[in-house]
Symmetry: C2
Subunit: 354 residues, 2 copies
Amino acid sequence: MPFSFDSATFPRRIYDLIQREGLHHERFFSAHLRLASGAYFKQPGKCLRPKLLVLSCLAAGGDAERALPAAAAVEVFHTWTLLHDDLIDHDSLRRGQPTAHVLGAALAKESWELSEEYAADYGRSLAILAGDVLQGQAMHLIAGMADVDAELKNELLVKMSGELYPQLLGGEQIDVELSYREPEECRAEELLAMMRLKTGALLSYCAWAGVMLAGQNKRELAAKLANFAEFCGIAFQLQDDILGIKGDEKQLGKSTASDLREGKRTLLLCKAWQKITQNEKGLLIKTLGNPTCNSEELECARQIIINSGAIEESAELAQQYIDRAENILEEALPESTAKQGLRQWSAAMLKRKY
Amino acid sequence: MPFSFDSATFPRRIYDLIQREGLHHERFFSAHLRLASGAYFKQPGKCLRPKLLVLSCLAAGGDAERALPAAAAVEVFHTWTLLHDDLIDHDSLRRGQPTAHVLGAALAKESWELSEEYAADYGRSLAILAGDVLQGQAMHLIAGMADVDAELKNELLVKMSGELYPQLLGGEQIDVELSYREPEECRAEELLAMMRLKTGALLSYCAWAGVMLAGQNKRELAAKLANFAEFCGIAFQLQDDILGIKGDEKQLGKSTASDLREGKRTLLLCKAWQKITQNEKGLLIKTLGNPTCNSEELECARQIIINSGAIEESAELAQQYIDRAENILEEALPESTAKQGLRQWSAAMLKRKY
C-alpha cells in the first residue's frame, strides 16, 4: 500500500509522534509549561515541512515510515521558531488560538490574579522557556530515532546545529532589524537574502534530510532537492507577505494587520513604496510599526499597498521562484508518484489561503 | 605532561574553542546578533562545568584533549540558560558587564535612537535569539566532535535533549512559578527538587558525559559520578542563594539585591521565614518581588534574613550535600590525581565567593 499523505491521516500521524515525544519530556514540567509547550500542537498545522521531508525521502527511493520521526522533528523545530517569533512580533493569535505568551499571561491572571503588566511579563517568560523546551524535543526526535544508524543521525544533527540554526536565526534577526530601517532604505536583495535564511533554510533542510534518510550516499540529489526547497521557501514567504495584507483573517487564524502594526519590512512593502505618492508614503509611515494606530488607519494603509499594484508584482516574482524550483525538480528526478507529490507540494505554496 | 587545569590556561583553551565555534556560526549574523551571542564569552567564567567534565573523563581513564569540545559544549549550554534566565529575571549585570537584553537595548538606542520602552523590547528580542543561537552552538560542538565515534556522540545528544533539556527547563519554570507563591507555602522539598533540576541536572550531565567519553561501557561509574555531581549542584545552588544575599557585589559582578527584588523563593528565604517575627515578615514581604523598592528597603530585608540565622543553616545543609557527594566519590574511584581534582572541585562549591 502506498504511503498516505491524506490530509486527515498524515498530520495526525505526525502529531501523534510529537505528542508521544512531549509526554516523555513533560514529566518534569509544571502544568503551565505543559500547556505552553503543547499549545501549538492542539490544532494540527498544515505539516508542510514533514510532508516535504517524507516526499523527498520517497522520491529518493527511501522508506517513508522510517523517516517519520525526522518529519515530526522538523515540525517541532518549526514550532519553536513560531513560539519565539510570535513573542518577538507581539502576535496574539496563531491558528485562531492565543499565542504562547498570551496564553501564559492568561494563566498568570487565573493563577495569581496578577496585573496586566506582571501577567504579560510572566507570559513572556513562559513562552521563552516553552520554545526552549521544543528545541530539546526536536533534537531528541532525531537523536532518538530507533531505525537509523548513528552516523546518519549525527550528520542530520551536524547540519541542523551548524547550518540550519545559524541561518534561520540570522535571518530572523535581520527581519527584526530591518523593521527599524526607513522603507526606502530596504533593498530587494537584502529582503530576498533574509527570506532565504529565515524561511528557505528550514525547507531546504527538510528536503536534504529526507533524501539523506533514503541513503547517505545520495548527496548530489540531496543538494538538488535542498535547492528546490529553498526556492519554494522564498515563494512561500512572498505569498505569506501577500496573505499578511490581503488574506482572509478567519482562514489565516490571525489578523491581517499584524505585519503592518509590527512594521515588518517585506518585499511587498518595498515594492509598494516605489510606486506610491509622497502623500501615500506619509499615511503609510504613520501606521508602520505603530502599535497604537486604529483599525481605520490600518485599513487605509492596507488599501494603499493593495492599490499600488505591488501585490501582483510580488505574486509574479513568487511564481518565478516556483518555476525555478520546478525546473530543478524536473532535472533532478525521473518521473514517480513522489516526484508528482513534490510538484504539487511546490505549487501549493502559491495556492494556499492560510 | 599532565593535563593543566591552571586557572590561566584551562578557561582560555575552552574559550578559544567556543570562539572558533562562534566564528563558524556568525557568518549569517548581523553585528548585533554577533555581539549578543558572544557577550558572555568576553570575560571567561570559572569554567566549573567544563572542568567537571574533563576531570570526570580523566578519573575514568579517558583522554582530556579528546573531551575538550564537549567541555566547551557544556559551557555554551550553560551560557544560553544564563542569557534566557537573565532576561526572565530582569537581571542587568553578569560578570560585571551588561546582560544580553540590556546590551541589546543600548544597541537599539545607539542604532536607531529608540525610546526606553522600544529599546527594551528590542533588547528582549535580541536576547531570545542570541540564547537560541547558543543552543545550536552547544549541539554543534558535540555533534561535530572529530575524534569521537558517532554512536557515542549520539548517546551524548540523546541524554542532552531527552533528559538535560526537560529537567533544566522544568526546574527553571518551577523557580519562576514559586516566586508567585506566599513564602510560607514554599516547602523545602519542593525547593530542593527545583535546585536538583535547575542546577543539578547540568552538572550531573557533565560528569556523566566525561566518563562516557572515557569509554561507553563505563556506565556504572558514569551514573555514580553523575550522582556525585548532582549533590554538588544542590550545594552550589544553596551557596549561590547565600551569596545572593551576603556576597560581595564587586566579586559577584552583580547586585546582591536582585534575588530579593525578583522575589526568588530560595530555601534560604524559606528557612528565614520560619524564624522571623510577624513584623519582620511584613517588612520582608513588601520588598520581595517589588521592582520599585529603594535601596534602604532592600538593605533592611537583607539584614532580616542575615540576622535570622538562616544563612548558617543553609551553609550547614550545603556542607551536608558536599559530604554526601564526597562519600560517593570515595566509594566510586581509586585514588588518582583526577580524583583529587574532583575532591577539590566539589569543595570549591562552598569556598567560592562569586
